[in-house]
């Protein structure tokens, strides 16, 4: 699961990546979500995207394995902006930065892009292009789907290419400052990474309690009570529980996933978890 290697064996910086390889990775970035899953989200698609670069950079098998290993950790960013993270991470890989540094930069960069990308693409570009062309389509105009595809994809590809080159250059220039105070940089970047993971736990936390009991005139809403104690208490508790199982009990991730699957399904049978379903055992009735 997690290699405990912190530095690459071969610390000689690799040759800068050529345009053909960078372009290939822009193309591969289209498949970021190919193996999207609930545990690590885009992790394997992310690795698929940067593999051409990693294979050029890490010529010995141990380093390639270490690099592939840490690039399979939880990853989630906006699919249209991912090349920004790719460029900067590849520049660090190419310079053979410490693995904790690369990880911290990756985690710190991926988080904020999600919100930015949603705002640009899903809340602005898509409603405008699809909205206008949908009305054209309703009038029977055959140009509508073509116009939608052209506008949407010109913007998408321009963003993908530009971000990849810009951030690869950015990372390459920043590396000099970084290597001068490598230890301090890693510590600071790890702090930022941990800060972002804390925020992700809250922001991506998606588990709520469904139970609500009618008590005379008033309603006892369990989720409301929990929110009064601490917002997102359930996601935080579950995360800390899994952390404990992995860190102290040495559980594998697959075992944790199995446990959560059981908790999820049994909980739904008793109507504990929020969601739009009818529990198997209806021991309480939802107040209207």
């Amino acid at each position: 699961m997690v290699s405990n290697v912190n530095t690459y064996k071969d610390l000689t910086p690799a040759r800068p990546l050529d345009r053909a390889t960078l372009n290939k990775m822009v193309w591969r970035s289209l498949f970021l979500q190919a193996s999207f899953n609930y545990e690590r989200m885009q992790a394997a698609g992310w690795l698929y995207g940067i593999l051409p670069g990693l294979e050029k950079i890490h010529t010995n098998k141990e380093d390639l394995s270490a690099s592939m290993g840490h690039n399979l950790e939880f990853f989630n960013t906006h699919p249209f902006l991912v090349t920004f993270v790719m460029g900067i991470v590849l520049s660090l890989e190419q310079q053979k930065a410490d693995i904790p540094t690369i990880r911290a930069v990756r985690v710190a960069a991926m988080g904020p892009l999600g919100g930015i990308g949603d705002a640009i693409f899903w809340f602005t570009l898509l409603p405008i292009t699809a909205g206008i062309t949908a009305n054209m389509a309703l009038e029977g105009n055959i140009i509508a789907p073509f116009l939608f595809l052209v506008v949407f994809n010109v913007v998408q590809f321009a963003v993908r290419y530009w971000l990849m080159y810009w951030s690869y250059d950015l990372g390459t220039t920043a590396i000099e400052v970084l290597t001068r105070n490598a230890k301090e940089f890693t510590h600071a970047a790890s702090m930022l990474g941990v800060f972002v993971v804390g925020a992700l736990t809250c922001n991506y936390g998606a588990t709520t309690i469904r139970i609500a009991l009618q008590n005379g005139e008033s309603v006892i809403d369990v989720q409301g009570i929990l929110d009064g104690v601490l917002p997102q208490l359930v996601p935080l508790s579950l995360t800390l529980m899994v952390y404990f199982l992995i860190k102290k009990k040495g559980w594998s991730t697959i075992k944790c996933i199995g446990l959560l699957l059981v908790i999820g399904i049994i909980g739904a049978a008793f109507g504990i978890w929020g969601g739009n379903y009818t529990p198997l055992v209806e021991w309480y009735t939802l107040p209207a």
Binding site: M1, V2, F31, Q33, A34, S35, F36, N37, Y38, E39, M41, A44, Y48, L51, K61, L64, S65, N71, F74, P79, A104, G111, G115, D118, A119, A130, N135, L138, I142, A144, N181, A189, S190, M191, L192, V196, V197, G198, A199, T201, C202, Y204, A206, L236, L238, Y243, I246, K247, T253, C256, I257, L260, V262, I263, G264, I266, A268, N276, Y277, T278
Partner: protein
């Protein structure tokens, strides 16, 4: 009726659109495109355009953001077009009739994302062996699986045209506790991803930082800033990190290091 060749073409289009909804152009799958394409296959582009346009307008505002899976627009858009052209339903009735199959598509997504969570252990194995080909195959497998499940959902939809009980049966699945549980479990699995990152990154002196990040995100969420929350979190996080960096570099340059700051001299 739908001829065998038309059926095959519709299933192929569904397969591609299913993959495209999360990958590739992420725009081919939109109803505005799928409506006319399916309409063309069935020999009625005009109706396809009308259904695609109507479904698209219905779709705007329910984007797949934040992780929850709304009834799926890929199967929904394709089936709505099929119903409008083949069964001759008007646009609104066709949109309504497509809902159960949109639900079926949503189940397909949930199942794929759950199964692929289990297969991440296999990806780790490929990484340990430094085998890029294994990672490539895993990604192709996941896309093919999603495409096939969606083609299956559309096939069920086409069968339902001549056998209306199919549609009733699928509608009765809505609100099933097993799918509800699977979906709840799906929402929990990301905590494993977080926990692994924490295991690696979180030195004992950083717990405060973890909870500070959590608290800031909670405050921003309560302030109705859930969308840009992570951007704002990054601003604060960068400030903290820069401060930490500058302090430590100053200490190093001042010739600290051996004595350290905790001596209290």
């Amino acid at each position: 009726m739908i001829g065998p060749l038309q059926l095959v073409l519709i299933l192929v289009v569904t397969f591609i659109a299913a993959i495209d909804q999360f990958n590739f152009l992420e725009s081919l799958y939109q109803p505005i495109v799928m409506g006319p394409v399916v309409g063309a296959i069935l020999g009625d582009i005009t109706t396809g355009l009308a259904v695609g346009g109507a479904y698209q307008l219905m779709q705007i505002g329910s984007m797949p953001v934040g992780g929850a899976q709304p009834p799926n627009a890929v199967v929904g858009g394709i089936m709505a077009t099929v119903f409008a052209v083949v069964s001759g339903l008007d646009v609104n009735a066709a949109l309504g009739a497509s809902v159960p199959f949109a639900l079926l598509g949503q189940y397909g997504v949930t199942l794929t994302f759950t199964l692929m969570s289990g297969l991440m252990a296999k990806a780790d194995e490929e990484a340990a062996n430094a085998n890029p080909a294994g990672i490539v195959k895993l990604n192709y497998f996941a896309m093919a699986l999603l495409g096939l499940l969606f083609a299956g959902a559309t096939l069920v939809g086409v069968i339902s045209i001549t056998n209306p009980t199919v549609s009733d049966f699928i509608s009765s699945l809505d609100g099933n506790w097993i799918m509800g549980g699977l979906s709840a479990a799906g929402g929990m699995m990301r905590y494993v991803g977080f926990a692994v990152l924490m295991r690696i990154m979180l030195a004992d002196d950083m717990w405060g930082i973890y909870f500070a990040g959590f608290a800031l995100a909670a405050i921003l969420g309560a302030a109705g800033l859930g969308g840009p929350a992570l951007v704002l979190v990054a601003f604060v996080g960068i400030a903290i990190a820069l401060y930490d960096y500058n302090i430590n570099v100053s200490i190093k340059n001042a010739g600290g290091g051996s004595g350290g700051v905790s001596d209290g001299i």
